[in-house]
């Protein structure tokens, strides 16, 4: 396997990063990088850490090196070298003020999810409203991974605050069975694209063929996550198998949310190197202007509508719920 760290791997151009990844020969992982500058979105960082751990778990070796570039201290602080199990070529002062980020963190069991989220989210020093959205996103994505992926190395996530654009970038990766296998347990699919499409629709879960979910799974998580990205005019990307779905930042109308993700402005790439598992990246606003409760309210409205699209009649139950 090979992984190349380019001078830029953001969600905008993530296909380039993925095309340079090679999934052949999994007895070792060879790493290399741009010799002038390396910038990696948390999507790429989480994927790299996950891949390194997966190769290591099966007895493979990590070969190669990351060049000594100006962004090396950032890569070290993000725990990339920790998970590559490589000694960094330079020493850094860990106590130096560095900015707002959550370094790559491995989550090994579902019971650790709550503690890890509540301990790490404050590292971004975001407003309470932004922190809620970060915690919400991390919870849904990590829980999804543990429930469906069967990843032997757990899940990896990290996040980074970018002050210039006032956004927070989040990435999460696992090396489990992937979306197509999970969705096909309960839904007939003819392609990986169709699997991703279903997974991103409201009310669809691999745990059941019933629209709206079963007793444990609503089939809501990924719809909510991509909706958060859309409503805040940001990128969302999901890569599983050989297929990448990327929702674009610029949409004609950020107020509307389509149940079918293919109705949003997007790109789909279906001939990428095989990733056995799932990698997700999302950017969210950190300018403090968005009220998270209000954002969820708008998404919920579209969620209900989206689930109803598969139904024939509307069930009214207002006034029946007892609140005190």
């Amino acid at each position: 396997m090979e992984l190349y760290f380019p001078n830029s791997a953001s969600l905008q151009n993530i296909e380039g990063f993925l095309r340079k990844y090679s999934s052949h020969q999994n007895s070792f992982l060879k790493i290399s990088g741009h010799n002038k500058f390396i910038h990696l979105h948390p999507f790429a960082l989480s994927m790299a850490a996950c891949l390194a751990k997966t190769v290591g778990k099966s007895g493979g070796k990590i070969k190669g090196a990351i060049p000594n570039v100006p962004s090396l201290p950032y890569l070290i602080r993000m725990n990339l070298f920790k998970y590559l199990e490589k000694k960094p070529p330079i020493n850094i002062n860990q106590n130096e003020a560095t900015g707002r980020f959550i370094p790559v963190t491995q989550v090994c069991s579902q019971k650790d999810v709550n503690n890890i989220i509540t301990e790490t989210a404050p590292l971004l020093h975001a407003t309470s409203e932004v922190q809620k959205s970060i915690m919400y996103v991390l919870s849904e994505l990590l829980r999804n991974s543990f429930e469906h992926s069967q990843s032997k190395v757990g899940a990896f996530f990290c996040a980074q605050y970018f002050s210039k654009t006032k956004r927070i970038a989040i990435g999460i990766a696992d090396s489990g069975v992937g979306i197509a296998k999970t969705i096909s347990k309960s839904h007939r699919i003819s392609s990986e694209t169709e699997a991703l499409q279903l997974a991103l629709k409201p009310g669809i879960s691999g745990a059941t063929s019933k629209i709206g979910g079963n007793s444990d799974n609503a089939g809501a998580g990924l719809f909510f996550i991509r909706s958060i990205a859309k409503r805040t005019e940001n990128y969302f990307a999901i890569y599983s198998g050989k297929t990448l779905f990327k929702m674009l930042k610029k949409q004609e109308n950020s107020e509307s949310l389509f149940a079918d993700p293919l109705h949003e402005k997007h790109t789909v790439v279906t001939d990428l190197p095989l990733w056995e598992g799932t990698v997700i990246g999302i950017d969210i606003n950190a300018d403090g202007k968005q009220n998270f409760s209000g954002l969820l309210k708008k998404i919920r409205t579209h969620y209900k509508t989206g689930v109803k699209e598969g139904k024939k009649s509307y069930y009214k139950n207002r006034g029946r719920i007892q609140f005190k």
Partner: protein, 119 residues
Amino acid sequence: MNTIDIFQKLSDNDFAEDKQLAKSLRKEVLLPSLEKSNKVEINFDKVSIATQSFIHALIAETLQIHGEKALDYIVFANCNNTVKGMIETVVQYTLEASDPENSHDTNAKSSPVSPLLST
């Protein structure tokens, strides 16, 4: 009336997202209470946010089994607007999905008869 205090069950934070916790509360408290036609108060005091997945895991099965009648036996206390909105959403789509006319699940097993129907 039985009471479930959600904040007390959380690990020193106000974020209700642990689906495993929600599932155990559902199975150990909510469902047994309704089986005996006992009311349950679910207290969300000090909970600032709950994921939809949490609320779904907590109450969806109760509604799937007992239908709208379950709402006569469950009181949601001290919910802020975010939590209240999530509960309303989950109740609505769960009851819609449970409506036999709307079932698209050809493999669905028939639900047990709700004892609440006789109370």
